[in-house]
């Protein structure tokens, strides 16, 4: 049923429809609406789940590890420092092969304290073995959350569903919220491949020597490699049931594009608008929506971008000492392509600084003007007056 809903609410509805059983969460702006909604559902019986009001994010993930190990469907949400606090246990969750689903609302890391959009928090966790899926709008958030459970449970790896702070989490849009019966045909109850059980006592996650650890790690990598294939199968099923196609990466006008934008999150929506305008003006602009970041869909990107001229990556994040992370990953993915495009990296919109269609157009023209890469990253929209004060 279509209704106007906030991004956070779209997530909560998906969690409800997924019949999650244990939720453990700690509030942090701007994730709070998600956990508040879910608390309401649990309190009024809309959702039959245990909501543990843990005392920190680290404990939130620890509680879910305990619960998921016991064979129930779990959920949490966090952001920024909360996610960073969980870091140790993100490694643990994937190493323990638990199909936990978590929403991360991309928020800047301090100091300075900043509650607005920045992607560095989730991308800093790219080595933890979590699948990462980025959402463009509220519908995307709801759909991706439902898909996340099927995907996680198919490979026994945890999934992070990522939303932009405020632009997505606190924006109201029309969302088609499906009914429970329909969702049930898409997402059955969890059938755990293992659980701690007094009927079959065993120890889990114990001390492992060099003789076996590497094979366990290889098993994780092998599972990760199955993810894109699994995702596509699940997406087909989703499309058949709900009529929407949640492709793991979407190309817009890429066939004949000379400059293709690559970005993730709400920036994709902004790009769509900018690309339309540029096309109307006769420019051969294109857009590649990056939905799945982990595993990085190397094959897909090679296939679409091979032989193309230029790519403009818009990173709302930065790995200091290296570059914008999407740009870095894309460059690595295309290194072995036969005819890789020139990849221009742009860092924009950190800490909630707005990225408008004008910003995107500006990036287009900069890219068009440049023959080749002059620098790894170009920072867009820096305030020159402020920079002048640095000399003092």
């Amino acid at each position: 049923m279509k209704q106007v809903a906030e991004g956070s609410q779209a997530v909560s509805e998906a969690v409800r429809l997924a019949k999650v059983q244990v939720i453990a969460a700690y509030p942090i702006t701007p994730q709070t609406h998600i956990v508040e909604e879910l608390s309401e559902y649990c309190a009024n019986g809309t959702l039959n789940a245990r909501f543990i009001c843990v005392e920190s994010e680290h404990s939130a993930m620890a509680a879910l590890i305990g619960a998921a190990s016991s064979g129930v469907r779990t959920f949490t949400a966090t952001s920024s420092h909360g996610l960073a606090y969980m870091h140790e246990l993100l490694h643990w969750a994937s190493g323990a092969r638990l199909p936990i689903v978590m929403t991360n609302v991309n928020r800047a890391l301090g100091p300075g304290w900043n509650i607005w959009l920045d992607q560095t928090d989730s991308l800093s966790q790219r080595d933890t073995g979590w699948i990462q899926l980025y959402c463009e709008d509220s519908q995307d958030a709801l759909d991706t959350t439902l898909i996340a459970y099927r995907l996680a449970e198919s490979v026994n790896l945890p999934v992070m569903v990522v939303l932009d702070a405020f632009f997505l989490s606190h924006t109201y849009e029309p969302v088609d919220i499906p009914d429970q019966e329909t969702v049930n045909t898409f997402l059955p109850p969890l059938s755990p491949r293992f659980q701690i059980d007094t009927a079959n006592p065993a120890a889990f996650n114990q001390f492992v020597s060099p003789q076996a650890y590497m094979e366990m790690r290889y098993n994780i990598q092998t599972a990760m490699q199955r993810v894109p294939g699994n995702y596509n199968e699940i997406a087909q099923d989703f499309k058949a049931i709900f009529g929407r196609d949640p492709r793991l990466a979407e190309d817009v006008h890429c066939d004949d594009a000379e400059i293709i934008f690559v970005t993730a999150g709400t920036t994709v929506s902004t790009c769509r608008q900018a690309v339309d305008r540029l096309r109307q003006a006769g420019e051969k602009a294109g857009l590649l929506k990056l939905k799945m970041f982990r595993p990085f869909p190397v094959d897909f990107f090679r296939q679409v971008l091979n032989g193309k001229q230029k790519v403009a990556v818009v990173d709302r994040n930065c790995s200091f000492g290296a570059s914008g992370i999407f740009a870095q990953e894309l460059r690595a993915a295309l290194y072995n392509a036969e005819a890789p495009p020139e990849i221009f990296g742009y860092i924009a919109g950190l800490g909630g600084r707005d990225v408008t269609p004008e910003t995107i157009e500006d990036i287009y023209w900069q890219t068009k003007r440049a023959d080749r890469l002059q620098t790894e990253n170009i920072w867009i929209g820096l305030d020159q007056e402020t920079l002048k004060t640095w000399r003092n």
Binding site: G95, R97, R150, Q206, A212, N219, A223, R226, E233
Partner: protein, 588 residues
């Protein structure tokens, strides 16, 4: 749910989880010392002349296994009900529990167990070997002679006892008064010995000529005639004194005594006989005074007995010895006049032997005692020369509690004839030691006897154990005696000793019935639980409880160590409340 929605069945999972147990790791290889069950000797059993396995007796009693407890006593001593009344219980003095609170009331418990057996509430089984075709003649049916008969019969010998008096028992029947040892108790324990097939001839004295004929009719002889003759006082008028031993005999034989009550009597002597005489006299209404030449603490009598006597109204005069008795004639009216006894005052000289004072006359100081009757009880000696072992014989063995002579047939001498300490328990020990010696002699020859006897010593001796001789588990016990500081007192709660009802002195002297009661079964079992069971395993299971490797196993009620896993930490040995384990070095 169906698998087509979740294609995970195609992806194998490999994560850290257990599929086996740690039982595959034989951690026994870590060990450099290993614990063993090493039962040791309790101090009480080493102090008991009969070598009774007291720690085990109390353990059985604590589990209300009274029959088994009695069998354990009977293994070493056929007279529990008797000893439970008259023994001087060295065991209690050695008892380790005494260093924590009170010693275990071992004698009371033996009495309880012995009484249960003779009252037929428990019928103990006595281990005996099959008949060996040999016959032994035994002279004297006191505790030594009957003890010898008991142990020899158990070893398969056919025994015939010759007793001069009309009833058997020796000092048990004719010396000790009934308020200490009732006749029925003695009779029942003697009957149990007869039930082993021992022939008992009363009113059948042995003399030197008969003794010579024994070599034709028997394979061995045991002589346990005791000290049948009282030692006489030697001074002017000494013959006026009544023989104390004879007096006690007459009382037991219920002969008429021409003694008038409300008279006074002096009892010369300081041993148990003197006390027995005095306490008998007071029950006849006579006022006794014990006159002893040394001090109270030097008296050979058991002090608790002396204290009983004093409580009953007997008087004690110390450091006095009679040197003349005069008088006791008739007065002009024809009434008997009292004796006048001259008593020499004694004093302690500077020297002490074995803790007993040496005394010498205190100058010329004397006292005169006016007294109606005089009794002497200054000791006894063998009645006949042939009662004693001949000296200077070429083939003779001097064991701690008996002497063996190889004549035409072996002759053993035991009891008061050979023992340094003249007690019932030592007499029983004589009989046992002689039985073991004779059995070894007939099986393995004269030269094997010393070693055989040494091989069944309890601790470092001198007591010997029949159980050890018959190759029971007890033979494997470590002779090391457990001391108090080897006991883990934490495992024992403080509890005071059980007490029996004792008649008040005023009531006691009205009767010859027993002075003390026997413990009730509940009280006896409770008291036995105070016993540490020094050195023996009583299945408390603390070793098994604490073992961090779950490597103490129980099979058929016995414990052993699972050497596959034992790491040799030693906790079991350290925590054993009673030092029944030890650590041995591993042979690496």
């Amino acid at each position: 749910m169906t698998d087509n929605k979740t294609p995970h069945h195609k992806i194998p999972l490999f994560l850290p989880h257990s599929s086996t147990s740690t039982a595959a790791n034989k951690t026994g290889s870590w060990r450099y010392v290993r614990p063993v069950y090493d039962e040791k000797t309790s101090p009480c059993s080493a102090a008991c002349p009969a070598g009774e396995d007291i720690a085990r007796i109390e353990m059985l009693l604590s589990r209300t296994l009274i029959q088994e407890a009695c069998e354990t006593i009977l293994e070493e001593n056929p007279f529990p009900a008797v000893c439970g009344r008259v023994c001087f219980h060295n065991c209690e003095g050695a008892c380790n529990r005494g260093q924590m609170d009170d010693p275990v009331a071992i004698q009371q418990l033996e009495r309880f167990i012995g009484d249960a057996a003779i009252s037929k509430t428990e019928i103990p089984q006595i281990k005996t070997l099959p008949g060996n075709g040999k016959k032994v003649a035994i002279a004297g049916s006191g505790p030594a002679g009957l003890g010898a008969a008991y142990f020899l019969a158990r070893l398969g010998f056919a025994c015939e006892v010759f007793e001069a008096a009309s009833e058997p028992g020796g000092i048990l029947r004719w010396g000790i008064p009934t308020y200490r040892l009732p006749r029925g108790v003695l009779q029942k324990e003697i009957r149990r010995i007869k039930e082993l097939g021992v022939t008992l001839n009363c009113s059948a004295p042995v003399n030197a000529e008969m003794l010579k004929t024994f070599k034709n009719r028997y394979d061995a002889v045991f002589i346990g005639c005791g000290h049948g003759r009282a030692i006489d006082l030697q001074f002017e008028g000494a013959q006026k004194a009544i023989n104390g031993l004879q007096f006690l005999h007459n009382i037991r034989a219920r002969h008429e005594m021409s003694l008038n009550s409300k008279r006074t009597a002096a009892v010369i002597g300081g041993g148990n006989t003197a006390i027995d005489v005095a306490r008998t006299l007071i029950r006849l209404g006579i006022d006794p005074i014990i006159v002893y030449r040394r001090r109270r603490q030097d008296m050979p009598a058991f002090d608790p007995e002396l204290q009983m006597a004093l409580d009953e109204g007997v008087t004690l005069k110390e450091l006095l010895t009679p040197i003349a008795i005069k008088g006791a004639g008739r007065d002009p009216a024809g009434r008997q006049t009292p004796y006048l006894v001259t008593l020499q005052k004694m004093k302690v000289s500077a020297m002490q032997i074995e803790g007993r004072a040496r005394v010498i006359p205190d100058g010329d100081q004397t006292e005169t005692l006016e007294i109606d009757y005089i009794f002497s009880a200054i000791g006894a000696e063998p009645e006949a020369v042939w009662h004693q072992a001949p000296t200077g014989k070429s083939s003779s063995l001097n064991l701690s509690h008996c002497k063996l002579i190889k004549d035409d047939i072996p002759i053993a001498y035991g009891g008061d004839l050979t023992n340094r300490v003249k007690s019932v328990a030592d007499a029983v020990a004589s009989g046992k030691q002689a039985a073991i010696a004779l059995d070894t002699y007939f099986k393995y020859g004269w030269d094997a006897v010393n070693k055989a006897v040494a091989g069944c010593q309890v601790g470092s001796g001198p007591a010997v154990s029949m159980a050890m001789y018959l190759d029971d588990d007890r033979k494997n016990r470590n002779p090391q005696i457990v001391s108090f500081n080897e006991i883990n007192t934490h495992y024992f709660k403080s509890a005071s000793r059980a007490s029996v009802t004792v008649l008040p002195p005023g009531d006691r002297i009205q009767t010859f019935l027993p002075v003390e009661s026997t413990l009730t079964p509940e009280a006896a079992v409770e008291e036995s639980q105070r016993c540490f069971n020094c050195g023996i395993c009583n299945a408390c299971d603390y070793c098994r409880l604490y073992c961090p490797e779950m490597s103490v196993m129980v099979e058929d009620e016995r414990r052993h160590i699972n050497l596959d896993y034992c790491k040799g930490c030693g906790l079991c040995v350290a925590e054993c409340p009673r030092n029944a384990m030890a650590l041995k070095e591993e042979n690496i």
